[in-house]
Subunit: 494 residues, 2 copies
């Protein structure tokens, strides 16, 4: 029997007790990246959020089948061009070369952020047959029509018959019908502006296309998720996740397609992550208010004063609840770096300190309650910031044990050992944090550099120029730069 958890369901707009369809098992589908460019930092936040949810569900004992797709066809831009084809043309590559390049890059980034790979990672181009079969089923059920070789989903008919269209996004069909026809491709083929293509006839020059009963063409973007979630998780599964921006039209249309083909809502619970902001505003390339993951790690951006390690960024993400916006600022990252280090240091004290107190200690209750509270926070719609704050409450106690400000007989062996075990479960297994590889590798480097910075200062104070020159020359060879700040001296690699 698993712990009882509650999740906020976007479909019902309320927190609900989570009840899986099959006891002990969870099917979870999360919309993955469109691999036509480097993954955005905002997407990384979404995937990290679902990684923590996946980890926690497994941690509390569920067998989870986590499916996250790769969109490598059909995701059209506003100008009606396929994102993959556009990427291919720009780089003078075959679309699948573009897909491969950015899939490899995406996997690299996910590994850098220490996210677990999903259990199945289906590709849209790998499921054309399944998508064609779903189009056929929707046609057979009367919720789609053919126009000039393309097939469109009939939203008005679907809304009238089921009353369902717009439920997830909160848009009403009248509003959708009233929407301008501007910027709609093939507008003449559609019966209503809110209708959407589930199969598109391809033009001569279109690169990615397949035979179908209607035309040589390609599936509409929304279709792949309906077809692949059904194939790998069944017509009805537990959790469907994605970024908030996918609610409409992508997820709304997914629901319409699933209901239109098999008559049932695909997922019991819809979970959506909120936006990553920067300096209080939406990230946007055109405004320059943007930063890539790599720029964030290296510090090579006007928006940050230095680089932050992937684990610090992951920690920063977790400091906001997945349903809240998360505002990335240099100050917040500096604070996250300090906080992350503080927790990691406390973890080291937990590992290296042995407490032998038999029986009970007067602090046991506080410690165990705080720790249990952190797990209760996770049960409550995966509230990572609140769980983290419980850990921070424990840090002064842990530090006081080290500094001997609290005597070891205040805590029992049992409580201390339990604290240690749960601390690492939560931090490493559930939050997916780990020692910074850079700091692990540079661990001794930083220590040695602190020593060298001191010896350099000493040499300067003593006007011992040969020594300070020697230090300068050696660091130059090693491509290490010392920065003398107002308050402190720091170092970085060139």
């Amino acid at each position: 029997m698993q712990r009882q958890i509650q999740v906020y369901n976007s479909l019902t707009r309320q927190k609900e007790v989570f009840t899986p369809l099959h006891e002990g098992f969870i099917g979870m589908y999360v919309c993955g990246p469109t691999v036509y460019s480097d993954v955005h930092l905002g997407n990384c936040r979404t995937f990290v959020s679902f990684d923590v949810i996946y980890r926690y569900l497994q941690f509390i004992g569920y067998k989870v089948r986590y499916v996250r797709n790769i969109t490598d066809v059909g995701h059209l831009l506003d100008d009606g061009e396929d994102r993959m084809s556009k990427g291919a043309k720009q780089n003078n590559l075959e679309p699948m070369e573009v897909a491969q390049k950015y899939t490899v890059g995406f996997h690299d980034m996910m590994r850098i952020f220490n996210t677990l790979p999903p259990n199945i990672e289906p590709r849209a181009t790998g499921h054309i047959i399944e998508q064609i079969e779903m189009v056929q089923a929707i046609l057979n059920n009367g919720y789609a029509y053919i126009a000039n070789g393309s097939v469109y989903f009939d939203t008005l008919k679907f809304a009238e018959k089921t009353g369902e269209y717009g439920r997830l996004s909160g848009r009403v069909i009248d509003e959708l019908l009233a929407e301008s026809r501007d910027n709609l491709k093939n507008q003449d083929e559609k019966r209503h502006p809110s209708d959407f293509a589930i199969w598109m006839k391809a033009s001569e020059e279109h690169l990615m296309k397949w035979n179908s009963p209607w035309s040589v063409g390609f599936p509409g973007w929304h279709l792949e998720c309906s077809a692949m979630s059904t194939k790998y998780l069944g017509e009805h599964f537990d959790i469907h996740g994605g970024g908030n921006d996918l609610k409409f039209p992508h997820h709304e249309n997914e629901i319409a397609q699933n209901m239109g083909s098999c008559g049932c809502q695909p997922a019991t619970y819809w979970l959506h992550t909120n936006m990553l902001l920067m300096n209080g505003k939406k990230m946007s390339k055109s405004d320059g208010n943007t930063i890539s993951p790599v720029e964030l790690f290296t510090g090579d951006s006007p928006h940050v004063t230095k680089g932050y390690s992937p684990m610090v960024v992951r920690f920063f993400f977790l400091q906001s609840h997945y349903r809240s916006t998360n505002d990335l600022t240099d100050e917040a990252l500096q604070a996250a770096e300090k906080g992350f280090k503080r927790l990691m240091e406390a973890g080291k004290i937990l590992t290296s300190t042995v407490i032998d107190t038999a029986g009970e200690g007067p602090l046991d209750k506080d410690i165990l309650e705080a720790m249990e509270g952190a797990f209760a926070d996770m049960d409550d719609d995966f509230n990572t910031p609140r769980a983290l704050s419980r850990l921070f409450e424990l840090v002064p106690i842990i530090n006081s044990i080290k500094d001997q400000k609290i005597s070891k007989d205040q805590i029992s062996k049992t409580a201390w050992d339990t604290l240690q075990e749960k601390w690492f479960h939560l931090l490493f297994d559930v939050f997916g944090l780990m020692e910074d590889t850079a700091s692990a590798a540079n661990g001794p480097v930083d220590g040695l550099m602190q020593l060298i910075i001191e010896l350099r200062q000493q040499a300067r104070d003593n006007k011992d120029w040969p020594t300070s020159d020697k230090i300068r020359d050696t660091l130059q060879e090693l491509e290490i730069v010392i920065k003398d700040g107002k308050e402190e001296t720091s170092w970085t690699f060139k």
Copy 2:
């Protein structure tokens, strides 16, 4: 204009001057892994070999499209069971979960061996439509027949009409026809024992199946490579590679399928890697004469006395020509480790030593000839062991420059700089070797420690005890130990 290279073509059984179909461009297809278990060390050798070929072709200026597939359906075992389905049943997983697990593991291992990802990595399940279309084309051309919902390639008819079947593997059709029918599944459906399924009707309980004009079923294993190489490289492309064990029946059948559908040989040049042996014998799980990559890295195997780093293993692979067997023994690995370090050390001397000699030096000619010879060796069917031996010839000269046994005026600046540049091109860009990660992480540590050892000596000489105490204390905290030897002072981690 690229350098002229020669490759040994398995199809013609001779070395041939390499002429690409389109000047400056190369299409290369290599058979990838079947992702139903961890990748074997022997496969790693094959993929490292083709990685070096891919790197070299790019290095000499070709734009290469390197396609390596992932087999995730249809690869049948001797007992007629699909490898993926068997893996899925054994692990109680959906076949695509098995595919994902071992695809991730395969990619991890390829990264550990520092192989470059291919440009396109198509999956068999992702190309069912293309395979069905190819079956249809073969049927249309009269080279296949339908039996009970399955489709078989008619080898006898193909051999009679084209005279081609058996050319690659050197088997003659009479021999194939005479082969026993034992162990042949659906033998009653086949007209000749050498015929092979290109589409298999699936049983009720079969897990991976798709609709087709003939039955709900799945493609034969050989078909995927024909379909995917054609899709991404065209009906005729430059290089097809794979392990020797794939020559028959896999590659023979691929050729038959390609010729049977479009009438032309798929590849101009067929390249095959030879076997990785262990202690002189074929690796075999049942004999216990086997070692996994991970066991080799950790040393956790009775066959090795210690672990060897991935770069040492890669170097060991390159010490044999890809067309020769490669005999893995503990002694050979120890020798490879020494050889690898020797080359890496020589590289460091090349980087850190500046030679200013103007004009020409008496050693220039020898140096440049050896280096040019190494590239000529690579032009000659990618002869990595001979190219490596040229580098080893240069090591004594490089070491003698360091030890000042050879005066710097024996070599001109131009020759030295050229040597340095080409050395790193060959070792890093072409051979894909890199500093062992463990030693790389300590790179700056060693430099800093040399500085600290000097400053410590200086403090001692000056009887500056506070400074030397501070150094001692800091190093103790960092778990670094300084050893004062007779001749020099060294350091290690505790």
